[in-house]
């Protein structure tokens, strides 16, 4: 048993003797960075109703004032327990930082954003899933948001933006045999998207 005592004594001494060099690099004001993140989106103020989505994104920062956001989202909307509306957004946004980047954690960095995405929508009648219709389209988006910096590399980001669909919307025609059809004209409808994401700079310089 003395061996066990000695072994733990060595273990304790080893614990105190290990020296780790702490990183002195501050990445808050990096001019070039690559980050990865996961995001959740709430879709509101659309004809479809309120829905929720899941997605991911990566960011490529080119200088201290500009960043780019490349994202993909899958959004599901329940239209009055009658129709299931699914959206897939694959796109990009440019983020402009009007203020200087912060230099410490627990600080907020606001930004304005504008961008574009490819937009897929499929609507399915819940009572009979064989009745459905889908379409592809394009959609520009514009909004604002902020990063809340947790460390010099990790942040929580909130984005609020309006996305306008440049395509005809799918509408349900309620008849004895209901069906979906494309609207006769482009209504320039869209949705108000609120997104929260967690991101981490994998590379910063």
């Amino acid at each position: 048993m003395q061996i066990i005592q000695r072994l733990f004594a060595v273990l304790i001494l080893f614990s105190f003797s290990v020296v780790v060099s702490a990183s002195s690099v501050n990445n808050f004001r990096s001019t070039k960075s690559f980050s990865l993140g996961m995001r959740s989106t709430v879709s509101m103020f659309s004809d479809d109703g309120v829905g929720m989505g899941t997605g991911g994104q990566f960011r490529i920062q080119s200088n201290q004032r500009l960043n780019t956001d490349w994202f993909a989202d899958y959004i599901l909307i329940n239209q009055a327990n009658q129709v299931k509306s699914e959206y897939i957004h694959i796109g990009w946004s440019v983020l402009y930082y009007p203020l200087k980047a912060p230099t410490k954690a627990y600080t907020v960095q606001p930004f304005l954003l504008a961008g574009h995405c490819f937009d897929y929508n499929q609507k399915t009648l819940l009572a009979n899933t064989s009745i459905n219709k889908h379409r592809w389209g394009a959609a520009p988006q514009m909004g604002m948001g902020f990063h809340f910096w947790l460390t010099d590399r990790a942040d929580i980001t909130w984005i609020t933006q309006y996305m306008v669909h440049l395509t005809k919307e799918i509408e349900l025609v309620e008849a004895s045999n209901p069906y979906f059809e494309l609207a006769s004209s482009k209504a320039f409808e869209g949705h108000w998207l609120n997104t929260i994401s967690v991101n981490y700079k994998l590379y910063a310089r």
């Binding site: 020296v19 780790v20 899941t54």
Partner: protein
């Protein structure tokens, strides 16, 4: 015998504490497999408790920030509910996100955000297919680091989402899990993360 046991416990405690103060928890890769119970928050499914096989893996990019993924597979359910009610009979969830940690010695409390995707099937006999659902979850986790290689954990999670097949079912529920996780200290390549 008690004396030796005390030595072992003290050894683990000092070791975990000392390594944390030196920042060695950073870059640890941890993994666990346990059982989790869910408590449905939908009025229509009140009293319905699914239980899951719950596996997760986390990587401490910084001592204060970790990224990780959680996988849930529903293995059954219990509870009192109307025989006519329709519930989620089977589901698989995959979450991925980040968490911020507050440390004090061996204690490690974290709050995380994990978006996810669910694959679920209702209890309707006519429904055979699984459907995808976007999910969002917030996670509160408490770890007790017994050593750099083990931690005891307790986790509470709030999941929100909707199952949409021919029946619309709320997937909003709280889940609790606890168990022992294994950790493997790793070392980063200079310049990365």
């Amino acid at each position: 015998m008690r004396k030796y046991l005390l030595w072992i416990v003290l050894g683990f405690c000092f070791h975990a504490n000392a390594l944390d103060s030196l920042g060695l928890r950073e870059h640890s890769l941890t993994a666990q497999l346990t059982l989790s119970e869910g408590f449905s928050m939908a009025k229509s499914n009140a009293g319905f408790h699914p239980y899951y096989l719950h596996g997760s893996a986390d990587f401490y990019l910084k001592s204060r920030f970790s990224v990780g993924g959680d996988l849930y597979a529903q293995v059954g359910h219990r509870g009192v509910y109307a025989s006519t009610s329709i519930f989620v009979a089977q589901q698989y969830n995959l979450f991925f996100g980040g968490a911020y940690h507050w440390h004090r010695g061996m204690n490690d409390l974290s709050l995380g955000i994990q978006p996810g995707l669910g694959l679920s099937k209702s209890s309707l006999p006519s429904e055979k297919d699984y459907v995808f659902s976007p999910l969002f979850s917030t996670v509160l986790n408490y770890n007790l680091w017994m050593s750099p290689y083990f931690r005891l954990f307790m986790q509470g999670r709030l999941v929100t989402g909707t199952h949409m097949s021919s029946k619309v079912i709320s997937l909003t529920e709280t889940r609790v899990s606890a168990g022992l996780a294994f950790a493997l200290p790793t070392f980063r390549k200079r310049g990365l993360y």
